[in-house]
Symmetry: C2
Amino acid sequence: MSSVFPERPVSSLAQLATPCLVLERGKLARNLARMAATVAIRGLNFRPHLKTAKSAAIGQLAAPPPDGAITVSTLREAEYFAHHGWRDIFYCVGLAPGKIARAAALHRAGVRLITLVDHPDAAAALRAHADRESLRFRTVIEIDCGEHRGGVAPDSEQLLAIARELGPHFAGVATHGGQSYGERSPAGFVRVAQAEVDALRTAATRLHAAGFPSDILSLGSSPTALAGVDATGITEVRAGVYMFWDAFQAGIGACSLDDVALTVLAEVIGRPADRPNEFLIDAGAFALSKDTSTAALAPEKMAGYGFVCDVDGVLQPNLRVQKVWQEHGLVVSATPLPAEKFRIGDRVRIIPNHACPTAAAHDRYHVVSGTREVLAEWTRVNGW
Amino acid sequence: MSSVFPERPVSSLAQLATPCLVLERGKLARNLARMAATVAIRGLNFRPHLKTAKSAAIGQLAAPPPDGAITVSTLREAEYFAHHGWRDIFYCVGLAPGKIARAAALHRAGVRLITLVDHPDAAAALRAHADRESLRFRTVIEIDCGEHRGGVAPDSEQLLAIARELGPHFAGVATHGGQSYGERSPAGFVRVAQAEVDALRTAATRLHAAGFPSDILSLGSSPTALAGVDATGITEVRAGVYMFWDAFQAGIGACSLDDVALTVLAEVIGRPADRPNEFLIDAGAFALSKDTSTAALAPEKMAGYGFVCDVDGVLQPNLRVQKVWQEHGLVVSATPLPAEKFRIGDRVRIIPNHACPTAAAHDRYHVVSGTREVLAEWTRVNGW
């Protein structure tokens, strides 16, 4: 990890401009190692999803270039990681006609880009463009294993129609058991993990019989990747939020709250004289996001807009970010606050509900390792 | 407007990389003119809030530099607008100790920065720093007129204590009737506008009696700024979201849906064979935000995550963005969709629930004027 950490601290949590992201290096490393080991034990290739981290420095730890295989959620990410040396990139959102030219440019630049389609029209547009430029796309068909977002049913007629449209650009099948976020137990994650495997096997078997053998059978979500079902025949696993985890993932039991590596550093900017259980911080809807996913959990797991830690990362169990405005967050305590804590200018760290949208509001991570010293700044890519 | 519009179109809505922001120049101009006229008729100075637009090009239309008075919500914005020539800037969020050095740097650079405090400790820290650097801060005390976010009560002891701490850095009072967002009628907006005026008058009268005359009496929110109550004694009005408006503001009656100048351009990326009322777009939680403010309105005003227009901006009344994932949005129609509309690759424009967080996910506006031609790209500043 020498290349991404300078020799001396670059700042401290007392000096950083707030609000900003703080990333615990030890927790990140532990999360990366746990997932990598779990996937390796299952005999699968791992293709980390960088949609959450969106950072070359973190990608370097998770799947170093040029050989590391990665997943991305936007073409902007694909271009960014290609620029930083990655060559094996899966753009895992349905490729629509308006994005084919940019995908083709990545192919021409030597990136082994995997693209995803779930409709014959998208496949036809892709093939027409690729053939015109004499490019060979590696395209997988998205299979719906029960989330009902994108994808075709594994037993559908549509599946074979798409493969026929793709012709030589067909490379396999992929699915995402996103319904795992609706589960609340290890048994639930196993059930969804099994649905992912079954859907890909059914689809690949039918495609093979129709003359389309699959090189790629790709599946995953952070909760299902750790579930450990038998995955014979599957070639690779994807997962992203596991790098940081968050209050929602802790709430559904995919991790513990202590595993969460990402917090938002904020400063106390208000301490209302007439509301002794409340204070205001400079992290609001923009710095934390308006995600309220933990509202669907049991009361003790509801974080409002985030759990509150002190500046050293120690959880303050009575506190929640209960309300947000654009640049204000209102922290409410279940018990009266002592006068000497959370004073104007004190700093706190917020565990977000959902790491992905929270991180997306920021352009860099401030990396710490159990102290207030900031060891590195890692930039990230946002937008499209 | 010549300086911000090049001679020829720079692109078209058919070519832009999606998702991205589209801004209707005519609606923007109409919104700016309506608010400016209303404030002028009331005999007040206007200090547009650029927390929504965050763009020098738009600031130039709303309050051109160097003389234009503006409001901002972050020091990053203050620095950005100072860099673009503005000199009269109100940073309208409680200034905590960690930000005083950056505020002082703006003062030293010649910016007439107005800062805001609502606690004696914040005032004392500001004064200590300013006196040390021999700077004169223009600081106003935040008054709570009923929103119960920041601010002190106009009749509180705290008010005078803060003024005494500020000493020579005291410049006046400010309030924000943010509770106007909870109103649903012009009468409600008038009630909150009156609460703003009353709170500032009470506070300024008490401060004056204690030897602290106010140069600045600043109030506002977009709904109350248009309410037109008698504002004798008030010096200035702030408002921000009125430049773009949004589905929520239309829902509470502050504007009409046709006034909304900002949309998100998206492409159809999925058309599930087995769900004839649905299609998927490439604008999800990141491009639209997870704001669900219209869920608090009457059913016909609930937008889900956004109302849907065709690429020309024509509202499709049966459609809503009903669900979002990171990079996917699910559009659901109340009636079956015709096969020839909303095909893979077609483009739509989404009216967001709340313009501020939606715009914050993007780094630029694509400016149009009633056609698909993109006349200009206007960048914006994000982050802190």
